[in-house]
């Protein structure tokens, strides 16, 4: 339907205005006002980058030499399968590099649409870690699978100025078959655990590390030194333009302007280490249980407003007649939350690095 239509129009380079206006303008120019579209542009490297907020719109306009090539795609046709390299995937913002068939002839790998997936794991911070280490993020949230691994004490050999030294370390001792940890293929028995969510485990006891992992279990980021060093990713030296801005996983994580995000990328998923406590108000006049979608969007606005806690509050109401019944209700709600569709909107990232395939554009 919109295979290859080209329009050319001009903008004030120094006062590009708002993305919102630009979006409307695009829709108007193309006479597609009723369609959900994804707007992208080709940057200086020829990478296709999305335009979806004021910031990247401004960036796009200012970097246009001399012409800004804008690509418009229907939202549901956007092919998420070929997005950035591993460094890009780490950005939760998902700087999606859309593949454009018009520019490149590459075999199309047919992968289902992202909403059929939910993320289970990812390798992150590859650019800042030594190649012998691997930082793995496990998403338990909304996942029925247990995390499914055990840790133990052990000794590891370190190279120090005084030669080799044996130091106590924490190791993965066992994987539960079918558990999340095993299914990712990123962790293995005898991998040494070096960090838990950015905090070194050196000097901590097994019990302390256990408690730290459990406390972070909804968004566990563990840095390991894999026992098997043969499968390490050989990184391409070329970094894509935007990767330089991050030096630390948590830093980059927070440095992103959370208020400028794709609407369908839910910030609570991005910030999934910020858990949501459920508050049930009893004894108020009954209301209908709000739809989850409206809920999440309402929570979004609150999150944008508050600088500290990104918590999701659900105003769930139940008949507070008997405790028994209310417990049941909470339960239903809880289980419905687990299959919350919002989780499906985030792009799966793990698989690409797993087999060492690096997609370069």
């Amino acid at each position: 339907q919109f295979g290859a239509e080209f329009r050319r129009f001009s903008l004030d380079r120094y006062k590009p205005g708002k993305f919102e206006d630009f979006y409307k303008l695009i829709l108007h120019i193309h006479h597609i006002a009723n369609l959900e579209v994804m707007i992208g542009y080709a940057d200086v490297h020829g990478d296709l980058l999305p335009i979806n907020n004021d910031d990247n719109f401004f960036k796009a306009v200012s970097s246009a030499h001399p012409l800004l090539r804008v690509f418009v795609q229907r939202q549901d046709e956007v092919d998420y399968s070929n997005f950035g390299t591993n460094t890009l995937s780490r950005k939760k913002k998902a700087l999606v590099t859309l593949r454009n068939d018009n520019l490149r002839r590459r075999p199309h790998i047919n992968i289902s649409m992202p909403h059929d997936f939910r993320p289970v794991s990812s390798i992150i911070d590859v650019d800042i870690l030594p190649e012998t280490h691997r930082r793995v993020r496990l998403y338990r949230h909304g996942c029925e699978k247990p995390l499914g691994f055990y840790i133990r004490d052990g000794t590891s050999v370190r190279v120090t100025p005084h030669g080799l030294e044996k130091v106590p370390g924490i190791f993965i001792s066992r994987m539960v078959p079918g558990g999340l940890a095993e299914s990712t293929g990123l962790l293995a028995v005898n991998d040494e655990v070096l960090e838990v969510n950015g905090i070194e485990v050196a000097g901590k006891t097994l019990d302390q590390v256990t408690d730290m992992m459990i406390a972070n279990s909804h968004n566990l980021i563990i840095t390991v030194k894999p026992a098997n060093q043969r499968n390490n990713v050989i990184r391409s030296s070329r970094m894509s333009g935007s990767s330089g801005q991050s030096t630390d996983s948590t830093a980059s994580h927070h440095s992103l302007p959370t208020s400028h995000m794709l609407q369908n990328f839910h910030p609570d998923e991005m910030e999934s280490d910020e858990e949501a406590d459920i508050v049930i108000e009893g004894g108020l006049e009954p209301q209908h249980i709000p739809k989850l979608h409206s809920l999440t969007s309402s929570s979004l606005s609150r999150i944008n407003g508050s600088s500290l806690g990104h918590r999701l509050q659900r105003d769930l109401v139940l008949n507070n007649n008997s405790g028994r019944e209310s417990n049941g209700n909470i339960h239903k709600l809880l289980s419905s939350l687990k299959t919350d569709p919002r989780h499906s909107l985030v792009i799966p990232r793990g698989g690409i690095e797993e087999d060492g395939t690096v997609i370069t554009l």
Partner: protein, 998 residues
């Protein structure tokens, strides 16, 4: 995000922190764990106790305490004070000798180790040659005589511990004075006792284990008298005038020997087996004390008939026709008699007997007819029944204090009125700033009220909850019922009785309202008692109610213990706290949380099944709430279900374990070198752990889920008058936190006082918060508009607190084991949090709001959270911004019972158990510090000692003048602080008297 918002190093705050917080382990309360030696100086009137972990503790007048620790952590075998000196010598089981002295330093005396020494024999000699068995500090204060296993007696100089080889008394030298026929029996095997002649310092009596006793002349190095005993010798005792001495023996006999110049080898005057004729156990120590009326006191340890009373730990006192065998609750370590030490006095005139048993200290008044016990002001056996919980109440109003003391004094009428006989030293510590109570709950269903204001933890009053229930214990089963003509004349003394007949009686939670005198006590079998203080004895019926926490849950069966049976009809209660309401939870699971609101007259209680609210004014159950997760089968069945058949035998073996633990574990030590002892203990623990865990340890990493066990376990309950529903009206509310990270909030409607009896209290669930990390909720607190914690009930009514700010918005603080989280009220939305576990891997075990005052200015104080983690660290976290202020390592992380027993006070002090019988007191505050500070002065001494003392004093003076200035500064700071505290105390005194007159 937190880390980016954290402000930089704020020097002002850092300075303030130094003025507010300071960590000190100040004093150990209670009875030393595993005592092993006892010493006494009649000159200083100080008593010394040594322990198996190498600690040495000196006690004098109440408040006079010193503590030292041997680096080796070895058992202290013997303690000997140097005559007429502030010095003592200890012998450890590694055969080392240590010289300790009390020296004044910046105004207070300190106990310090001066020298150590190990006796070495000539090369190639067996270790037994120098194994010290007896120590005699000579009255010249210049030498020590050391009897050894080889029979040789070595002489060492003091304080240098230089061996004076030419003065060694070899067994060969002794034997040449002993008849040939006697010598053949290896009579000089081991030196059992060395005693200096009471009148002639040049003569010492040497007792060898095979029975030979000789009197040795030090001047001429020869034996002047030989006493050819035939029984294995245990000990010797000189009579006061030196004309006779007593020997006591392994076969349970004692012998009196005359010493006169005309007979060099006398026959015994008298040989007696006091509990014969059947074989008796050894008499290990004996005293012969003369009195004016001519009848001596003969006091000896042991000697009981072997077959029938061989297991008793007894000390017999014989005075004329009176004879009593004091029967102690645990092994007697040692004892001494306090008698007239004036050299000019003609008679001993014993006044008291001090007995150190393994588990308690017993002092018997020998002056008063009937020989009653004296109530010790310190060294209380906290563990006379195992401690199951503790509760601290700061700043008790004078009125309540006096009423508790008066109730307690009625219980103590059987004690002697004699003033405490060990009264050396002077307590120069400032008076305690306020009256503090420490309440301990015990396994036998009693609650003990301790005066925790000062250095001496002193029992004020003991409350028993047993009377309310029918128990298995047969009241006629009284061990003490002894007929008049019973032989031996045993009399049980002491209070140590660790064996509870019914573990269901155990106290688990205590809550005392210091303003109203209401006390709530909850126990192992789901029993909750509400009590009121009554100054008179009374007989009344205890109202009884049942709270079914399972409500209509079908198909569950409690397999744990049964509920306690109650006594029907009126029960006689003695003056003190008398129960008037009993609520029993059903199922009768252990009560895990308790809260009392004395103004609303409500008591809330929680178990592993749910929680309930009871109106103790109308005596009506307001509501119950089941917190169980349907899949939590374990909670329903009860923890004992799996071992029920073993229950009884388990209890038996626990008793054995408790007993054997005493002998197998080394005592942990004191504040000074605590870390060393802790290390030793850690090593021990590790060793045992290694034995236990042969398989490699691994830990499962799994997020908490709703299906985990004991999620419904109610961990904390809290009453608050706050904005639960809307921001315009505040109302009474009850908050409950569970093990599964759920917080329930109930809105309460309490009728006004004039209709309090007419209208029912109503409750309605208003909120339920599920923390997503699901960690156990260990604390709930509401902060008022000024971010100050809400005051305690009745605190405002008694003008002891500002009324809370109801204008500004309130905040809710929920403390889970993993996180601290502040929520807004009434709309519960998260405002702030501190994720402790995620950052540090430690979990919150205990949390309490504490008020910290600045040591510099009197007008600054702030509220912070005092937190104890599972690693044994103490952290102070600011309110309301949840910033970590400071962290101190306090308890070893392996010491689970120490961590579990910790209680914080409202003013930044705390207590935890370092052994079953001892509380360590610590302070986090610069302002509120209770620690011993005392002076031991040398009493006036006889002229020939004068030169010595003078040089000693000069030494001390020189040393102290060289002392660092820091100490002086600290001292002056403390003096000022003292003055301030006194002011405050005066203020409070006035307040409480006003209150009393109202």
């Amino acid at each position: 995000m937190r880390r980016f918002l954290r402000p930089g190093h704020d020097p002002v705050r850092e300075r303030l922190k130094r003025d507010l917080f300071q960590f000190n382990k100040t004093v150990e309360h209670g009875f030393p764990h595993q005592p092993s030696a006892l010493g006494y100086s009649s000159f200083l009137r100080l008593m010394a106790i040594g322990t198996r972990s190498g600690a040495i503790k000196l006690y004098g007048a109440p408040g006079v305490e010193f503590m030292g620790l041997h680096e080796e952590n070895n058992t202290v075998m013997q303690i000997h004070f140097i005559p007429d000196q502030c010095q003592l010598v200890t012998l450890l089981d590694d055969n080392s000798l240590h010289l300790w002295s009390l020296k004044q330093h910046s105004g207070a005396s300190e106990l310090r180790e001066e020298h150590r020494f190990t006796l070495k024999g000539p090369p190639g000699s067996p270790p037994s040659a120098t194994q010290i068995t007896a120590v005699l500090p000579h009255s010249s204060r210049e030498v020590l005589y050391l009897g050894t296993e080889s029979g040789n007696i070595f002489v060492v100089e003091l304080p240098s511990f230089k061996v004076l080889e030419d003065r060694t008394i070899t067994s060969e030298a002794v034997l040449q004075w002993v008849p040939e026929d006697y010598c053949s029996r290896r009579s000089c095997e081991l030196v059992e006792a060395l005693r200096e002649h009471p009148k002639n310092p040049d003569q010492i009596l040497i007792g060898y284990s095979r029975g030979l006793i000789v009197l040795w002349d030090l001047q001429n190095s020869k034996v002047t008298h030989q006493f050819l005993g035939s029984e294995q010798l245990e000990n010797l005792y000189w009579q006061r005038d030196g004309s006779k001495f007593i020997s006591c023996h392994y076969d349970g006999s004692y012998t009196q020997w005359p010493v006169s110049s005309d007979n060099r080898q006398p026959e015994p005057l008298e040989n007696l087996v006091p509990y014969g004729p059947f074989p008796c156990k050894a008499i290990s120590k004996i005293y012969w004390q003369t009195t004016k009326n001519g009848l001596p006191y003969i006091i000896f340890q042991g000697g009981m008939p072997r077959a029938s009373y061989g297991d008793r730990h007894s000390i017999s006192v014989v005075h004329g026709s009176q004879q009593t065998a004091f029967d102690f609750t645990s092994r007697v370590i040692d004892f001494f008699i306090i008698f007239s030490s004036e050299p000019s006095a003609e008679f001993d005139d014993p006044s008291a007997m001090v007995v150190l048993a393994e588990e308690e200290l017993v002092v018997i008044d020998l002056k008063t007819a009937g020989w009653p016990a004296v109530h010790p002001p310190y060294l209380a056996s906290l563990h006379c029944s195992a401690i199951t919980c503790s509760h601290h109440v700061s700043n008790i109003p004078l009125k309540l204090w006096e009423r508790i003391i008066s109730a307690g004094s009625k219980q103590n009428i059987h004690y002697s009125s004699m003033p405490w006989p060990i009264d050396g030293g002077t307590n120069i510590a400032p008076d305690p700033p306020q009256r503090d109570l420490l309440l301990t709950g015990h396994e036998d269903g009693t609650v003990r009220f301790w005066d925790a204001s000062g250095v001496c933890l002193h029992l004020l009053y003991k409350l028993s909850t047993v009377k309310v229930f029918l128990t298995d214990a047969d009241p006629n089963d009284n061990m003490n019922t002894q007929g008049e003509d019973e032989w031996p004349p045993l009399r049980k003394v002491g209070t140590f009785d660790p064996y509870s007949d019914d573990p269901r009686l155990g106290i688990q939670k205590i809550y005392l309202c210091k303003y109203s005198g209401y006390l709530a006590v909850a126990g192992t079998a789901g029993q909750v008692l509400v009590m009121e203080l009554n100054d008179e004895d009374a007989e009344h019926i205890v109202d009884h109610a049942e709270a079914d926490l399972l409500q209509d849950q079908e198909g569950y069966r409690w397999k744990g213990h049964e509920k306690l049976k109650t006594r029907d009809g009126p029960v006689q209660f003695e003056a003190g706290f008398q129960p008037f309401v009993l609520v029993q939870c059903q199922p009768p699971a252990v009560v895990t949380s308790l809260a009392l609101h004395s103004e609303w007259k409500l008591v809330a209680f929680g178990t592993s099944h749910g929680f309930g609210l009871f109106d103790h004014q109308q005596k009506r159950l307001v509501f119950v709430k089941c917190t169980l997760h349907p899949s939590d089968q374990l909670a329903l069945e009860g923890p004992l279900s799996r071992v029920k058949s073993l229950k009884k035998s388990l209890r038996q073996s626990f008793r054995r374990i408790r007993r054997s633990r005493v002998s197998s574990r080394k005592r942990r030590g004191g504040s000074g070198n605590a870390s060393e002892v802790q290390e030793a203990n850690a090593k021990f623990d590790q060793d045992t752990l290694q034995e236990m865990e042969l398989a490699p340890v691994q830990r499962k990493i799994e997020a908490r889920s709703a299906e985990d066990s004991f999620t419904g376990f109610v961990r904390t309950l809290y009453f608050a008058d706050t904005f639960l529903r809307d921001s315009s009206r505040h109302c009474p509310s009850l908050w409950a936190g569970t093990n599964g990270g759920t917080v329930y909030a109930f809105c309460l409607r309490v009728p006004p006082a004039e209709r309090r009896m007419d209208e029912p209290v109503r409750a309605e669930q208003a909120k339920e918060i599920q923390l997503m990390h699901r960690a156990p909720v260990v604390g709930i607190l509401v902060l008022d508009g000024r971010s100050a914690p809400l005051p305690e009930p009745l605190e405002v009514a008694h003008d002891l607190s500002k009324s809370p700010d109801m204008q500004g918005s309130h905040q809710l603080l929920v403390v889970s084991e993993e996180q601290f989280k502040v929520f807004t009220l009434p709309k519960v939305s998260s405002k702030l949090k501190l994720k402790l576990t995620a950052l540090e891997g430690c979990r919150v075990r205990k949390v309490m709001v504490a008020n910290f005052g600045s040591c510099r200015t009197d007008d600054y104080s702030e509220n912070d959270l005092a937190v104890l983690t599972n690693l044994g660290d103490i952290q102070i976290i600011s309110l309301p911004f949840l910033k970590l202020q400071i962290r101190y390592p306090c308890i070893r992380k392996e010491d689970v019972s120490g961590i579990a027993s910790c209680v914080f006070t409202k003013y930044g002090q705390g207590f935890y158990l370092i052994s079953p019988s001892e509380f360590e007191r610590f302070s986090l505050s610069t302002k509120w510090l209770v620690e011993p500070r005392c002076i031991v002065d040398m009493p006036e001494v006889t002229s020939n000692n004068h030169v010595h003392n003078k040089s000693d004093m000069e030494n001390t003076a020189r040393k102290s003048s060289l002392g660092d200035y820091g100490e002086d500064e600290r001292k002056s700071g403390r003096l000022m602080e003292h003055a301030l505290l006194n002011d405050e105390k005066v203020l409070k005194e006035i307040q409480s008297t006003l209150e009393g007159s109202r």
